[in-house]
Amino acid sequence: MSEVLLAINGLAAGYGASEVLRDIDLEVGAGEIVAVLGSNGAGKSTLNRTISGVLRATRGSIRFAGHAIEREKPAKIVARGLIHVPEARCVFPNLTIEENLDLGSYRRGRAHRERNRARVFAIFPRLAERRAQRAGTLSGGEQQMLAIGRGLMAEPQLLILDEPSLGLSPRLVEELFALIQRINAAGVALLLVEQNVVQCLEVARRAYVLEGGTFVLHGNAADIRADPNLKRAYLGL
């Protein structure tokens, strides 16, 4: 593996007294696609929220690009180039598409904004067509595209996508995974947190399986894909 971008060691996190995650060790290399697979309630969203600083880790360390970030605020972590596109998309419904995208570049200079926007519009021509439309009027799939576009506006080194295929039609899911590879080809590392196991294992290099708040399996995506026993035992395939 090339240079380590994200390194998580012995991480635990939760809400109040209830611990959701424990003993989490995870690495993402620069430019790598890594999948975190697991069923609903396994702790996937908690993991994402802890990495992006929305939720405080109770134990353990998170290092990103050589900096300890487990005590940093979300805004600071975004400025470092670690962007989390949440499961609920969380686009700004009262703002136009263009305003949504511009806020994605909030931590970058104005000069960057134009360039980033041009790049995002090249990937998502549909967003360019509707740039003056309010985000609240978009369909679910379009909101997903906007959420990813807004994430790209922040010039990420690592993009965490939380259930990006959720609620998308099969055709849009195809588009999405093609898009993920395209983003990756531009040098952005991705952490895909998905229930959509089959397609995830095709684009990812490595995968972790999360169950009951901890990783129960970790290996090369190709190996997991090729081993029917592993797939049956851990992924219900």
Partner: protein, 290 residues
Amino acid sequence: MLSPIILVPAVLNGLLTGAVYGLVALGLTLIYGVLHIINFAHGALLTAAMFAAFFAHRLLGLDPYLAALGLTPLFFALGYGLQRFVIGPAAHGEDRNILLVTLALAVVIENALLYVFGADTRTLNLAYAFDVVDVGVAFLALPRVIGFGVVLAVALVLWLILALTDTGKAIRAVAKEKLGAELSGIDVAHVYAVTFGLGTACLAIAACLLIPTYYVNPHIGNAFVLVAFTIVVLGGMGSVTGALIGGLFVGVVESLCGLYLGESLGQIGIFIMFILVLLLRPSGLFGERA
């Protein structure tokens, strides 16, 4: 009774008074729209601003309109600091705590003012306080005409800030989607504080517009905030346009009720309307339906 000679001046005067109500409501609704809390300290902060405007004239000889230029940034900073360093940290992220902290703040500010200045009612005697403007159909008090113009200008500036600046876009983003804003790199604590600062700055301007024709005592702010709260509900919680138009409307209602029911009963109309709005259109005129 319905003769235009009586009616038109009453409506115009109502609009002039209503504009300043609208400005107080604007601050309240802005804070509500973004932080999703009723700022119970709004009245006490208005009182503090009126005392500040009063003593800026009494001690420093500053005309209230001139004092506004200094008090507005000062109260912006005060509001920013209160939210960032007192209300925010004391609330620990719980909305109901914010509510209680602002209530406590109101008690502290009011009683501090009471302790320092006593319960006396004070007025400024400005040379132009009784000047009138002849608009053909009516004679209007000059300070109120100035107040009306200033409120419209402030509302326009506020609207431009919200629509065009990065900070304004961030404020609108945080209002509707806090998590999305955080994950886009927006410092939500800072945006909350800026919003609270803007709301408080509105009070400083309102105070400077009121002081030439109004009196000040340690409880004066509450009377305005009660009306402002009605306006916020009428216009739709969190709606800036609603606050302004609601303010003008309430001013006219108060003026007409005063005309027909007698000066001392003028405010009855406002509260009857408040109850009617809650019964018939709880989301307000410009509010989104829940």
